[in-house]
Amino acid sequence: MTVISAQNLDLTFQTNDGPIHALKDVNLNVAKGDFVSFIGPSGCGKTTFLRVIADLEQPTGGTVTVNGTSPEEARLARAYGYVFQAAGLYPWRTIGANIRLPLEIMGYSRVDQVERVKRTLALVELSGFEKKFPWQLSGGMQQRASIARALAFDADILLMDEPFGALDEIVRDHLNEQLLQLWARTGKTICFVTHSIPEAVYLSTRIIVMSPRPGRIIDVIKNPLPKERPLELRDTPEFLNIAHRVRDGLRAGHSYD
């Protein structure tokens, strides 16, 4: 079943330095339960594409549907949770209250709020940190809290824009492992933007390789790795093989001018 579908998508930003062709002729279908990674150099439009799905940018051509409706309707129906690169927790709210934020806005009952905060905190392994303030947590824990915030309400789609980009390698490995487990447990559809080839190969069922000027899809790689993925998998020939193909795609689309 197709959850997200883009047909001939075009987006041109009008700037003072002239028009910027951020997305050109993007065609993509994301099925329910997919884990799709978008990879490419800066300016390839991967974040822009995610923002179009989230109704944070308006395309200048083509169509996008989310759950069969327009992105705006999907947004109003609260169909997705969005995780930004910066955790963006409110410093004046405790971790629990930060996760409660979308629930308050969407009008969940008091009892339901308490129960959901508890459940999502457990999901990202932050139980016991409910009453702490964000500055009392490490960067990795803050990002986990922001994922919990996106999971707190019943959205089937998770849009993640380089959520681990600012974290160090070890924390990132750990969070990647956790994210896979979380995906397996919840069965959500995940769109994941990243700069990192190993991250993309390790996490996804499909890897979308993009290229800049104009931003477009140059390769879609189906990931044959098993669903069960220990970290050691990254040293196997199969893994390196896919990583190689991603790197080739990136190189082909990038002229290094």
Binding site: A54, L56, R78, Y80, F84, P91, W92
Partner: protein
């Protein structure tokens, strides 16, 4: 407590400079008095002394220098004299049960405080409402902000009498409200500017996040913009209350007021009573210190409650 030593050091330096300044400021008066009392003064005659530099006068009349610190009507009173006068017009009168006498600085301070607080309330309200309007309306941003800036370029001393006259004309009794309007005029500006900055402080990604929740603008105001502006608000309130006090005192100066600290300063000036001026001045400074400290404590309390590191 860590800040106590530097503060006391600066205070010590100021007091030292003050004491050093008393001699050159008062010596001519002391010499005039001494000459009238029959003592020897070099050179003789106050007209002749006018042409002599103050430092040579001090050198030539070393015997009279001690008297500059104990004049009845000094041009520049010593800190001890000012302190004595302050105590005489506050604590001593209060102990005698005359705190509300027209000669007591407690009474005049209270008159000034009333207008200050009323003006502070008025100015803060106007500032916050203006900031909300500017944040949410492009029209308000483009039309209100320039006028807010222009308003602060008009000398308040020129405006104060007009405000008094106009309020009288429209039938406002007493002086408390017109003075409060003058003080609000000075007070609203820092609050407005800071609150605009505070309400605009949330990053785009934070606003985007609320958009993904389909939050209403009332929700994004209450849950994001307002709490984000609180640290800015308190900084502004501390500047604002000091401005409100200055506004009230200025409102008391050129308007023929007979009560309030500003009126005491003016009356002291008209009667050549520098002790009255200085003690009123210090009362105002102490009042400002108390008000700002109270707001500072409130700020610490609120920010701590909000989980921010103070």
């Amino acid at each position: 407590m860590r800040s106590l030593l530097p503060v006391l050091t600066v205070l010590g330096i100021l007091v030292a400079i003050w004491y050093l300044a008393v001699a050159p400021m008062n010596l001519r008066g002391v010499l005039d008095q001494a000459e009238r009392a029959g003592a020897t003064v070099i050179p003789e005659g106050s007209v002749a002394r006018r042409d002599v530099h103050i430092w040579s006068l001090i050198l030539d009349n070393r015997g009279h220098v001690a008297a500059v610190y104990d004049m009845k009507r000094p041009r520049l009173p010593t800190p001890v004299q000012v302190g004595g006068e302050l105590w005489k017009t506050t604590g001593e009168m209060a102990m005698k049960g005359r705190a509300w006498s027209k000669r007591s600085l407690i009474y005049h301070g209270w008159i000034t405080l009333q207008s200050t607080l009323l003006g502070f309330l008025l100015g803060t309200t106007v500032g916050i409402i203006g900031a909300v309007a500017i944040t949410y309306s492009r029209v308000a941003d483009m039309s209100l902000m320039p006028w807010a800036i222009i308003s602060q370029t008009i000398p308040i001393v020129a405006l104060a009498p007009m405000i008094i006259v106009v309020s009288n004309q429209v039938g406002i009794e007493g002086r408390t409200l017109p003075k409060a309007i003058i003080s609000a005029y000075l007070c609203f500006f820092p609050v407005l500017v800071s609150m605009v900055k505070g309400l605009r402080s949330p990053r785009l990604s934070q606003l985007n996040l609320l958009r993904t929740y389909s939050a209403t603008s009332a929700q994004s105001f209450l849950k994001l913009r307002l709490p984000a502006s609180v640290p800015y608000l308190f900084t502004a309130l501390k500047v604002g209350i000091a401005a409100a006090l200055v506004g009230t005192i200025v409102g008391e100066l050129p308007t023929g007021a007979i009560s309030g600290l500003g009126a005491r300063i003016l009356i002291g000036d008209q009667f050549g009573n520098s002790l009255a001026i200085w003690s009123a001045l210090f009362s105002a400074a102490i009042l400002a210190g108390v008000l700002v400290t109270a707001l500072d404590l409130a700020q610490r309390g609120v920010l701590k409650y909000m989980g921010m590191r103070v």
